[in-house]
Symmetry: none
Subunit: 225 residues, 2 copies
Amino acid sequence: MHLLLIEDDTEAARFLAKGLRESGYVVDIAADGREGLFRATEGTYDLIIADRQLPHFDGLSIVSMLRKNGKHTPVLVLSALGSVDDRIEGLRAGGDDYLAKPFAFDELLARIEALLRRGNLPEVTTRIRIADLELDLLGRKVTRAGTPIDVTSKEFQLLEFLARRAGQVVTRTMLLEAVWDLHFDPQTNVIDVHISRLRAAIDKGFERPLLHTVRGAGYVLRDGG
Amino acid sequence: MHLLLIEDDTEAARFLAKGLRESGYVVDIAADGREGLFRATEGTYDLIIADRQLPHFDGLSIVSMLRKNGKHTPVLVLSALGSVDDRIEGLRAGGDDYLAKPFAFDELLARIEALLRRGNLPEVTTRIRIADLELDLLGRKVTRAGTPIDVTSKEFQLLEFLARRAGQVVTRTMLLEAVWDLHFDPQTNVIDVHISRLRAAIDKGFERPLLHTVRGAGYVLRDGG
DNA sequence: CTCGTTCCTTAAGTAATCGTAAGCGCGGCG
DNA sequence: CGCCGCGCTTACGATTACTTAAGGAACGAG
């Protein structure tokens, strides 16, 4: 597998490249956006990893230019800060996945594998649908059976994470890392509280609940079961 | 499709040409206004892309001279600065569309396609409509339910940006970059203030507000929801 | 140069949201 | 059958986010 890494911080680039090579990837490095785009358009890479902030062109511009050139090479964008802003912009530009620094190297590897596995799907998801529940990621809107539902920003993050993995059990640890950016147990019941609030928002008053507890494991978003 | 690119910055020209060629266009480059006009009058091009500032003749002069010669080849003018005045001037001079640098490459492609598709019909998007709110981009006029509304230049920029992305959440960062050209957080609440003023202008006194805030994310212009 | 407009800042007020903790209910297991 | 642990709910205080008003700087018109 041939990866292109676009990263201006030489040290970071070397470190990442080393790790990736140890995992069996062939890695080329581009030091700025212009060089990165130039190489990316050659189209011989299986996956591109691009920093969000770059000299000349940033990661998102690279994604959109690539896409408009008809290249569907999956792009994983690394961002300095995992703010809501960043994520929305990332989605808009057509990035296939988004990873906020600082990240665990394992996670990077996991996402790379996920992207490679799904085989260059050219479409970006801006809407997710589980049964009669619908998420509009760009408009930040939630509807159930057609009626709009108000959710707070945290609730939306939580719901998005669950929805992207609909049908799969999501553990508390995963939620803590993805939604709260905590890499340890906070010893409180933050999650329970927000799950409860989310339930009140999306399940209350509907026949079939979608958000289920899996005792001892975590939570699942799915229809039935 | 045969394009003529008139651009004096060699590097920019090469980059654009490369991207356009990869999108399937045949591209000729002219390095200044004189050469550009000379080639343009041959009349064998399907579309001309001209920089606004050029040695010898600028982009707008080229447009008007072309038109006086009876050539109706569509011209897309690239401007260094996306001020409202520039855009109006560009359109008035007979340019078919106008794009402010820096622009995303995909936007350039989209506009080229739009111009080619409509087969040399000189019609540009000059009006945007969301529910009963109407923007006249050329005249810089705003009306709601038929009654004219006064907005300042900043307010218009802001409104235009929101209107072009109606239904999608627009983040503060996006607004700062697009309307204020700030690429960092100014630590003040400029945006809030202008949003507030814009609200007073377009929503005050109307039943259904169109400009909604999405807490923790940004703002949306949309009807309902 | 002066006036008026537009824009930005500051600052105070208001509202929504988040996290914590306490108490309750339910189910599993002894 | 009763205890224990896990998860759910609710309430509250702290924090953050948003709104609005008012003053001053910058700009352009006359």
